[in-house]
């Protein structure tokens, strides 16, 4: 079985600068990290490997420094990696990004399972996973909460629907986007860091792709018109309740239920 996990390098803090002209994130000089949701996708792949045996590849799209997140996947136990990187990919929106990744994955050969985190903490769209599945021509399930069983030709998962949890079986090859909490991500290992220090991270650029039509990539391939990008305002919504202890406990309990914290 082969599993490919898509990961992304995102800004390490919430204090990000945005280029006012292009609406693109300024990444230079900003400390970056692995998109936190991707850690769950990586861990899911590692769990599949531990249970059934699998060959794991981590892929990312971004500038050369995005190699760091592939290296981190190596430190967690991944076997292979690949970076899709080309100046012509810069400024991609959701559509161009998912197309670029789909071309890269086709180049590597379609695996049995493609895993993505539910969304990224910089873009927040949660669309790249499903769009990627469409470009790859495979079925997908988003918001996967847990894996129930893995068979030879399919996987059974629970997916989080608004208001309900649905059980679904999907045949390979397929794409899953996983939710936070599916597994607790392991920490990167120093031993693996040392062992994989010399391991290559191949870079694939437009020249390696089957479709080399530049109008499908980067800003050219992005129909999204960004009017304005801004960090969201802090949500200061709050309520103040005044009442006796017992009443407040019930109220708090009801509220937490309503908000689905419990």
């Amino acid at each position: 079985m082969r599993v490919v996990v898509c990961v992304k390098q995102v800004p390490g803090t919430t204090e990000v600068d945005i280029d006012e002209e292009t609406g693109v994130l300024k990444r230079d000089g900003v400390e970056s990290k692995m998109n936190p949701y991707d850690l769950y996708a990586l861990e899911t792949a590692l769990q599949i490997k531990e249970r059934r045996g699998a060959e794991l590849t981590a892929v990312s799209m971004g500038p050369p420094q995005a190699k760091a997140v592939i290296r981190e996947a190596y430190m967690m136990g991944f076997d292979h990696g690949a970076l899709f990187s080309d100046r012509k990919f810069a400024g991609s929106d959701v559509l161009a990004t998912s197309y670029t990744i789909s071309q890269g994955i086709r180049k590597l050969g379609l695996p049995d399972i493609v895993l993505c985190g539910k969304m990224t903490t910089d873009g927040d769209t949660a669309q790249v996973g499903p769009a990627l599945a469409e470009f790859l021509g495979i079925p997908h399930i988003a918001n996967v909460l847990s894996i129930i069983e893995i068979n030879d030709k399919s996987i059974v998962v629970e997916m989080d629907m608004p208001g309900s949890v649905e059980l679904a079986e999907v045949a390979f090859p397929c794409l899953l986007t996983v939710n936070k909490g599916i597994f607790q991500p392991r920490l990167p290992s120093y031993k693996l860091k040392m062992a994989t220090k010399e391991r290559e991270i191949p870079i694939y650029s437009l020249g390696d792709y089957e479709d080399q039509d530049e109008s499908n990539y980067g800003l050219n391939g992005s129909p999204t018109q960004v009017l304005k990008i801004f960090p969201p305002e802090a949500n200061a919504n709050h309520q103040i309740w005044e009442d006796g202890g017992d009443v407040l406990i019930d109220k708090l309990h009801d509220k937490l239920r309503e908000l689905k914290f419990i």
């Binding site: 400390e31 936190p36 920490l187 990167p188 031993k191 860091k193």
Partner: protein, 463 residues
């Protein structure tokens, strides 16, 4: 020997602070009758919410004349009964004096009132890229309480303890005098360091009403290493090797799987690794990732050489949260796993920790009682909890006494001290006596008498 509080005393104090700030009898919440030490309960006769040094001074002056005992109190998170009014009298609640008075960026000092909570303090300074290093686990404790017990916390290995960060204090003496001890100065060779007697004085020598704290620039980055070992012994025996390497982590903590599992259950969160029986948790700070990586590389090699299964790297906020939130909940988690517990906060030289931990572990079988521990392996300060579970009261007291006796005498044998950071309070006096001897205790009493000749301030504590 002490006067009881009378109606005219109450009326007098009400005139000083306003009647809405004075509480008597059943108006006094049960919270003020104890601290976090189970088993010791006593209500003060009068509870007073104070809001200024002048109020504290006026009350002390009056109490001194009337010979009424006075107990100062912050959040009441102590573990040795230090803030319990065992002789009744007046309790001064200083937690309302919680203003941050001045941030002096030229002298890198912060002047605060004693009721500022540790979590408020660190948030305030860190938002301004500054750093108050003492980091005790109990973040809802007040800075006044931290000063009174000379609290230490997890960063003591590298940064030292509360005493190292107190430059000056405003103190109300038992007779009501207000004195300034120390100041913003960095050096001070002007007579006995009275400030340092107040620090760790557990509110028996004077009442801190203002503190000038020393700050550092905030280190820009921190990375933790979680290091799984086959046994606790192997984990702890690695600590002196790390210290010897001259690379100083900010924290070296140890933990065992059982405590991690309790914490998972308590928090409802999963810990990132449970493969091993024992762990060391190391934290490094610095100004760049490269600087920190260079430092931890050598330590990682030492740990692997000493038999660690691996060295796991925590380098993002999410990873740090998954580890340190569990670490922060250990005390509460252990507490939730039993009916009642008592603790031993001994400190031993760092190269004797392994021996002490092994010894205290062995007491479980010897006395047939459950004992759990975790702690600051890097500074030799252990937190060992003896758990009552389903023992009956008599048996519990008996076995607890035997276990304590064994642990404190072992600690003495290894060159250790009774308390690393929680203080002596009421509960640890017998062990302090054994440790200090007659001459030492006499010296403590003479110092107490010099500050408080009538013994009215927090009586029955320390000596």
């Amino acid at each position: 020997m002490y006067s009881e509080v009378t109606q005219s005393d109450i009326d007098y104090v009400k005139k000083i602070v306003g009647s809405e700030n004075v509480f008597i009898a059943e108006e006094i919440s049960e919270d003020f009758c104890r601290d976090e030490l189970a088993g010791l309960k006593k209500s003060p006769e009068m509870l007073v919410d104070v809001s200024s040094a002048e109020e504290v001074s006026a009350i002390m002056k009056y109490a001194y004349e009337r010979k009424i005992p006075v107990v100062p109190r912050g959040s009441g998170t102590g573990l040795v009964g230090g803030s319990v009014a065992i002789h009744g009298g007046i309790m001064l609640n200083l937690s309302g004096m919680n203003n941050i008075i001045e941030l002096d960026e030229e002298n890198l000092t912060l002047t605060v009132e004693p009721g500022v909570l540790l979590m408020e303090l660190s948030k305030y300074v860190e938002e301004r890229d500054l750093f108050y290093p003492p980091d005790p686990g109990e973040k809802s404790a007040t800075i006044g309480g931290n000063i009174s017990t000379n609290a230490g916390g997890m960063r003591a290995v590298k940064y030292g303890v509360t005493r190292d960060y107190v430059r000056g204090l405003e103190v109300v003496m038992p007779n009501g005098d207000i004195v300034e001890l120390g100041s913003k100065v960095v050096k001070n060779s002007s007579g006995y360091s009275l400030k340092d007697l107040i620090i760790g004085g557990e509110g028996t020598l004077g009442i801190v009403t203002k503190a000038i704290l020393k700050l550092l620039p905030l280190p820009k980055k921190a990375i933790s290493l979680l290091i799984p070992f086959p046994t606790l012994e192997m984990a702890i025996e690695t600590v002196p090797l790390i210290i010897k390497s001259k690379i100083i982590p900010t924290a070296i903590e140890y933990m065992v799987r059982d405590v991690i599992l309790s914490s998972e259950e308590f928090l409802g969160k999963t810990f990132p690794d449970k493969s091993a029986d024992a762990y060391l948790l190391l934290k490094f700070d610095g100004n760049s990732t490269e600087e920190i990586e260079a430092a931890y590389d050598k330590v990682a090699q030492i740990c692997l050489g000493a038999g660690a299964y691996d060295v796991l790297i925590s380098n993002t906020a999410e990873r740090e949260e998954s580890i340190w939130s569990a670490r922060g909940a250990f005390l509460e988690a252990i507490k939730a796993s039993t009916t009642e517990m008592d603790e031993c906060d001994v400190v031993v030289p760092r190269n004797r920790i392994a021996e002490f931990v092994k010894f205290s572990d062995s007491l479980q079988d010897k006395y047939n009682i459950r004992i759990r521990s975790f702690g600051h392996a890097g500074d030799g300060n252990l937190h060992i909890y003896i758990l009552k579970d389903d023992l009956d009261e008599e048996e519990w007291k008996k076995r607890l006494g035997q276990v304590f006796e064994a642990m404190y005498s072992k600690s003495k044998e290894l060159g250790g001290k009774v308390s690393g950071e929680h203080g002596i309070g009421f509960a640890k006096i017998p062990y302090l006596k054994e440790s200090m001897g007659e001459a030492g205790m006499q010296l403590l009493k003479s110092i107490k008498a010099a500050f408080d000749p009538l013994f009215i301030l927090n009586p029955g504590k320390i000596c």
